[in-house]
Symmetry: C2
Subunit: 201 residues, 2 copies
DNA sequence: TCCGGATCGGGACGCATGGCCCAATCATTG
DNA sequence: CAATGATTGGGCCATGCGTCCCGATCCGGA
């Protein structure tokens, strides 16, 4: 999304602001919702003057789309890092580690997770956002597929989609619970069961 | 939610309005989002005067909660009816039928499905709504569990949760696509694979 | 038939908030 | 030490909201 070019300039004074604003936007989306994404609120959340948001983003739609892309980028990077770490672990290991990652997101980064799904819903309503969502989901699935191949699946693509779908459903389930700290103990067995069954079959 | 007592009175003039308003509210939530749930908009959507919504519902929170309950009630009724129809079908049959049902929802009742997930997200933000969501998910899972037991699962509760999670994730995936009419052909193989693997293992 | 409470309808007030825009200010460069 | 572009502050105007109010209408019981 805003990847190309980053790092070339040392982010003088403005570019850093840009990211500050995007992060504030994600926080607002997570805490209140996309409809609350007003210039004023985002600026306040970022601790910046009102004009800062209108200055850096042409429209609210731009701001939303870029924030969406940033969230996707970061999330995919997180799984990819985990996949690289995992090396050639077994099925159970993979499932448990993956489950612990997503459970940690739901416990610790609750707002970010809520923002992710809120944006997903928004993409369902606005076609121009769907590309971002599909990119996110596909990239995520690609990493999972890689893991499942190492574990020995016979239907890599299909199984990866299933695992990703299950992760999303389980995360959603956890979001409606009051004890996020127990997310891991609920998700680990579920994913172990799922991956185990898929590998076996 | 509004189950008890329904059917006893023939829904005079007011009670019908009440439901009309709730349906309009769900439509608004699906099309625009929960933040757009204002008296004016809901009244307009229902084709009723502004005063109608304030008359029948004390607050927006009440309206939202009752609409949420209604959506849950109807959705669960739909799966239950399907489960009753299915009788003692095999695993593949169960998976395919279930997949076709949820695919049909995403194709035909897109707005309602979006509303369902939008409300779910809202429940993640507001603890007072979480009970409704858990009731919905649990009731749904109970029906699925019944089906899976008939199919011969060894881990009914866990597998039911997994199937429900996968359904949610897959529905969400479909919502971000532009060709909802193909939802069935994407969901049927996935659920068949999932249920097959779970039964086998 | 008549009555009183329930129900319905339209409108007006006051308030909060949003996007937009412009003039003032600041920082860096040449 | 200008000059140019980045940045900020704040005001303007429109929109939309919740709430309240009062009169019209309906309906079942006395």
């Amino acid at each position: 999304m805003s990847l190309p070019g980053r790092g070339s300039e040392p982010a003088p004074r403005g570019a850093a602001r840009r990211e500050l604003i995007l992060e504030a936007a994600l926080r607002v989306v997570g805490e209140v919702g996309p409809d609350a994404l007003t210039h004023r609120r985002v600026a306040a959340e970022a601790g910046l003057p009102l004009a800062a948001t209108t200055y850096w983003f042409a429209s609210k739609a731009d701001l939303l789309a870029e924030a969406y892309g940033l969230a996707a980028e970061r999330d995919v990077a997180r799984v990819r890092a985990l996949a690289d770490e995992l090396g050639d672990a077994g099925a159970a290991q993979i499932a448990a580690t993956l489950a612990r990652l997503v459970a940690a997101e739901v416990s610790g980064g609750r707002t970010a997770v809520i923002a992710a799904y809120a944006l997903w819903i928004e993409a369902a309503r606005r076609p121009e956002l769907r590309g971002i969502e599909r990119g996110w989901t596909d990239a995520y699935a690609a990493v999972v597929e890689e893991l499942l191949v190492r574990a020995g699946t016979r239907r890599p693509a299909l199984d990866a989609r299933l695992v990703v779908a299950a992760i999303d459903g389980l995360q959603l389930e956890q979001l409606a619970r009051d004890d996020p700290e127990r997310a891991a103990e609920r998700m680990v067995p579920a994913l172990e069961r799922l991956v185990g069954a898929l590998i076996a079959g």
